[in-house]
Subunit: 336 residues, 6 copies
């Protein structure tokens, strides 16, 4: 049965200009609108903003990220020509607005994010979180671990985020994956960073990271090999595990994403990033987040637009979930 | 009866940080939320965004004004210490979102704005429009004229906006008050511009303007006299007529409002503007609009914040409508 | 005969600093200066600004594009080291200034642009238009069709621009190539988009587009194949037809061209774009335009500089028109 | 005895351009340079940066404030023509660099700031703190209270900062003066806010504030009275008490200080602010701070420059400490 | 005889939108256009850009000032409602474009500026120079001194610009008025600075300055007295001498003029500045310059717009030259 | 012997947040700190800022480059994961602050830079200069030539910088390598430009350049070949000669480096640039400079961050000097 025509989609572009559309991601309906229009019907995907940045170690401001990504998502349209997905029609998507959490108490904030994720996901909906800073990864992983067991984290970032503490603080935007690993949330054979670059504290950062369960594909490998080769390696690593996708927007080069807190030269282009994410098609993606968009440092919404497109590709992956890889994106996908 | 505690107010600041609050003006409830929470109860004030800027003759971009003003209004709090008003509690205010109108057909847009204003105002609600460009003044005036008869326009602007045509076009952001006067919407003895400055086309612009029903207080008079004196003159001119307040944000100096389309040096400070508007206390304000906020030219939201505060003072005037002038603002008000 | 020394070239860089040079494209002479200095001599290339953006569906501001591109073109020098062309010496180029058209009446504007193009081209001059928005493509195509018959459009853009209407409007920046195709202006076997990406409305956008005469090379193909391969495919498609080159600056990635109205992530680098355009060498280029530069969103002129370089490569193509491909650009050109 | 020639002053402007000078406030010497050059000699004034902004409730970023103020202070010269002070020569001033405190633990940060202030002030030096956010006021007041007893706070700000808690947090940038009052640090008859404006939570904010020891001069009074009258009222209130001057840069209008976290329209001009501060001449100023400069929102250093000039006037007050009011600033000072 | 209808005025606003107008000051005709249209007719006012900034001691970039001021002048209209002047019709004004001078050799540049001024002024035309930095004042004063004898300089600036040398260099933007005084170009009883503020090097700067022929009105006096009082003092000082008006845009507060090289807090508003300049009405203004506009630091053209309005008031003064003071500006003018 | 633990490294990141660290490159110690802590110990690398931009022909502002690069270098950490180098531990690095030179006298400035370089290098330290404009290359080359003889210049730039004069000036940012060649400082068989692009004055620019000793790898070659192939060609050319590395930040594409004075489209990504520099591993690098960072045109420090990373790679090359190529960077290095 194709129920797509029943689903509540984005605002009608033929009746209202996009710039006059609702302040939701992709002009999609709010959660309460969906619930009113389709009482009892399943909501496959929920989008949530978490404007929290108290875990940031350098340039703050990601608390304004969710609103900025939504504002930058107004040009998204319903058909993904790169993958053939129709992410707004093939599934019911709803924008749940923002979760307000305490900026003065990191522990309280982490608990609130986790409780809220548990609740939003209780009906089986997949959750796409718009950050906020990377501290959010920990409560998000705790929540998906609860329902899916050991998680294969696919972490797109310039940084490892497996550091131990920062000024004595165990829960910051630089530590979520170490905490998650220590808490036993991760499938240690299946986690992976992509896009890593820039100086680190020492060689032990890399060896620690491996022990914590991660394989590294550095950003430089996009220079020396190809997106297709990286996607193949990524798919091999992730396998059939439940995958949580965590996209720190600073995986992009500062040229493409100035609006972030700890930029590092030598990053990915948005074209590389989008095609890498498309490479997840057919895998078991159980949740996702886009973090570290700091609008005060953005220009002309270029960071916000990149983040919005990342969100769109994630929705597309879920829309394509049941089908075999097809369309142009399939061109570089190896059978798994 | 004081029903204020029953009214649906802004988001609870103690439970959620302001930056995580809803994307409405002043974190106020949406129209549908009010209607659901208080079925049948009166809504005294409606706030509407009209993202239209096809009537702009120079720098466009006011189509993004409503979203920008709302984003810049998140710090507004419920008590006006300058006037003693509690604009969110003394009346039910609702944010009606944006009206999408056709950017490619000015006539169609004007008709849609008017029809929508008629509809929103049908229950007696007062309407505060967030533009969008000044073309909106005409349909807004047509609507208030319908229910209130001849209108005393209080027009705060750097420009007269009583020009005839521009490149042959009769309906643009430079012509609404001439059209309104020609259509018989205005009380010719009670209209007024405040803040006028910059070069005009010729001396006949001024004489024409007078014939169309307007008195002029130039921005320079703030230098040579005082806000109090200007307020007194303003109140004398407006008298007891139904007043429509039209605030073009370019009444402010470019230093205070860079984010606009036709800036002119030598304008008002935001302090002068807010105190001028407070001077309307006790008059019969039947509608209002804030126009010409063009975010692409704004910096750090300073234009948006000024516009948000103007909106707050307008809501405060309505909240104080029944009471005699009091509080600090009363200090410079003469009895009328 | 080499008449280059007779031609009126750009301002003398040894006598005046570039920042003090005239406000023309590449410091080139104005049309009236050329006419006065070389009465009766042919003018091979005319550059015209058309500051019109009333066909824009999202972020406006391209009306300030021509002045911005010219300001950003002051560093252009006379010899193209990539192709061996001397575009200012091999042909007489003149800057015709801006054509003022009515921002309030799209139909009138389109007619005026066409009439003016016909007139400027009457003496056989090739016309390079600096937009302005993409609505301009239609009158420009009408004009070249008049003298050259069915046109092979090479359209570099993130978007198809073959949509039907927008809010009921048939003539906007999203529809010129559908209109052109419907009007019979195009060689349906030889049109092509390059750089397409981002979500579209539906799969039918793509099938419609094909019927209208276009082949698509998506931006992603730059990731999976190479500029050389794309150029080869492009040259095969265009063949010997009269080619009109339409460059929407949003074909570039937002990182390279923030100053535009409808940016989409995943675009081209300026290096890819310039080398693609160089690949046209030897083809029959009958006219060109560079559109959608919106300076209010630009930073440090990076969008303007990219547009200026695109213009320079177009002039270089014309300068090389008679000669066989040579120089570095020839390295990846197949014989046609 | 005039020891000024012995003091270590700013970098020699005749030998090195200002833009090449050291990265200290006003090109002044570092603490260690002074200690090396003048071992054992008294250091009358110490300048300290405290890059801490974890107490911010809205736009963060004041952690980059100290570096920004210093960069914006490079044009300061040694003679204050407005007051006749020679603040770099009349006293030994040293820049102590930045105090790094924990961004993830407000309590730890407050304790560190206090301990450090105690230490820096142990030799009798006056301390000028460059913030950082307003949370810093509490540890700074604790320190001056220790040596001076009950303090008369002169607080220049758009906001009262006497709120109780925010999201349950007692120590934030909105609460320092309530905490200080509760802790008995303040002279309840001699504290004062100047520049207050914008909406508050309720009328009780104002009554609470009075109980906590503060008198309010709203920003609007600059419109209705004069700097001279305000200075007179200020001097009357402060009397002969030990005064701590706390300048939140948002006391300035957003036009003059966009680079801050919670801007409110209707503020002071920098001219009003500087002249108000000059009005403190001859009073017993025991310490001072300049807070809430958030560079990510600044433009062309205008906020930083205003803050640097405020710092300069504070240094000038101390330089003039012993002398009777004189010079131009004295023109509007009444005898106290 | 009223020859105004014969004069060549600005581009026809009814035929072409302002943003499509020519890149001249106020859309006025170029010198060569005037000469062609009105051969032999007098040109009363010439406007010249001098993009030179090699005399700058801090933030450079004023070399891009002339183009920026012109771009910011497109909204100027022909009738000055503040003074009743019609500056484009009452006199023939022509834009002479830019004079390119050597950025690597200050002496050569100064000589070229002087020679060019002599030449442009040879026919009796008054010259308005758009800088460029303040170094230009010296050659400009040499030129007017040649034809008018001892000059009364009215210098609007934050700085004295009577310093002696800077890093040993005698000719910089900080020294022109000392050099001019030393060269005997000035009427020592009639020169004046207005707007001075910020720290200086020492008290001797002020005493030296007086010896060099200048009286000082500090910016603070706008706070303590009034524009009218300042204008009266200014007119008394200038008397009937030939006046050269030198406006450094940093006389404005950084809020109003961020786009400049050595900003100082506490400056004038553009309203104060424009009204001060209007106060020159009826005096013998023999030349003028507007300098130190550095566009890289400007935002939304606010500095450029202020400079353009200053230029407009200067043209208006010349247009009113023969007539008695009248209109609104006359309100505060004392008889002289 | 491994003395790394004795060396004075950067500020302790575990004790102080990076944003609170010292204003030096990479939070490294100042020269005087090193000298005090390790009297007599060798200082292997000295970093010097030279804020000079009077040789700039277009957009000035590189005088603020050193401070900007340092501010943008605060996130650098001690271990280079791309090459395995520990540049802060393997050698003693010290930040020497800025050298103030005369902005009004290019010859004096060049002499001062050379004298200072000679002095700083007298103890055998390698010098990394942060510009400042490219004029600095000449005195820097003179200094290294003195101790190392004929130099192989590796010049990364969009421009040749082998022009002869500009407006008659022999010493500007466009001429250093011609002067150096003429002075006999260069090994004519071993110099090389990488990243060249954009129009030049004529074909003779290229032939002259070859005579002066340079081989050219155009930026386009990164499109058509690979970093590895370019590195191989580069190493072949440089051989075992003493290499001076001169990085003009405009070698990067304007998207990656907007903050520079003469940007050209079609440049390198920062990833390409960093990997090219890594390709120098094992060669005899005797000195280096990073020039033309003009902060007024930068956004969110992206240009500054790129420059800081370039500096980090240079320090890493020196740290690896003795060892054989290893680690990831070795992947594309051919044996030499």
């Amino acid at each position: 049965m194709n129920a797509s025509q029943d689903r509540l989609g984005p605002a009608d572009y033929s009746a209202t200009p996009r710039f006059a559309g609702p302040p939701t991601f992709g002009l999609l309906p709010r959660l309460d609108e969906v619930q009113a229009a389709r009482p009892g019907a399943p909501i496959e995907v929920k989008i949530l903003g978490v404007p929290f940045d108290s875990g940031v170690s350098y340039r703050p401001g990601a608390r304004f990220g969710p609103a900025h990504i939504r504002q930058s998502s107004k040009l998204l349209r319903p058909y993904n020509q790169a993958t053939g997905a129709a992410p707004f029609a093939a599934q019911q998507v709803a924008d749940c607005g923002d979760l307000g959490v305490n900026p003065f108490d990191i522990d309280e904030a982490i608990a609130a994010v986790q409780a809220n994720a548990d609740e939003l996901r209780a009906d089986g909906a997949k959750l796409l979180t718009l950050g906020g800073d990377h501290t959010l990864a920990l409560p998000n992983l705790r929540s998906v671990h609860r329902s899916h067991g050991k998680i294969a984290v696919l972490h797109l970032d310039a940084h490892l985020d497996t550091w131990d503490t920062y000024m004595g603080a165990p829960y910051t935007h630089g530590t979520p994956f170490r905490r998650a690993s220590e808490e036993g949330l991760l499938d240690l054979a299946r986690c992976m960073h992509i896009g890593i670059r820039g100086p680190v504290y020492g060689a032990e950062d890399l060896t620690d990271d491996e022990v914590l369960g991660f394989q590294i594909i550095r950003a430089d490998e996009y220079e020396f090999t190809s997106v297709a080769a990286i996607v193949e390696q990524m798919r091999r690593r992730l396998g059939n595990a439940p995958v949580y996708l965590s996209v720190d927007i600073d995986v992009l080069d500062p040229a493409a994403a100035p609006g972030t807190g700890t930029p590092e030269a030598g990053g990915l282009t948005s074209r590389e990033l989008l095609n890498t994410i498309r490479g997840l098609q057919g895998l078991n993606l159980v949740g996702a987040e886009i973090v570290e968009v700091a609008p005060a440092y953005d220009h002309a919404e270029i960071t916000g637009i990149a983040a919005a497109h990342v969100g769109y590709e994630i929705l597309s992956l879920w829309a394509n979930r049941e089908s075999a890889p097809s369309g142009p994106a399939g061109a570089f996908l190896t059978a798994d």
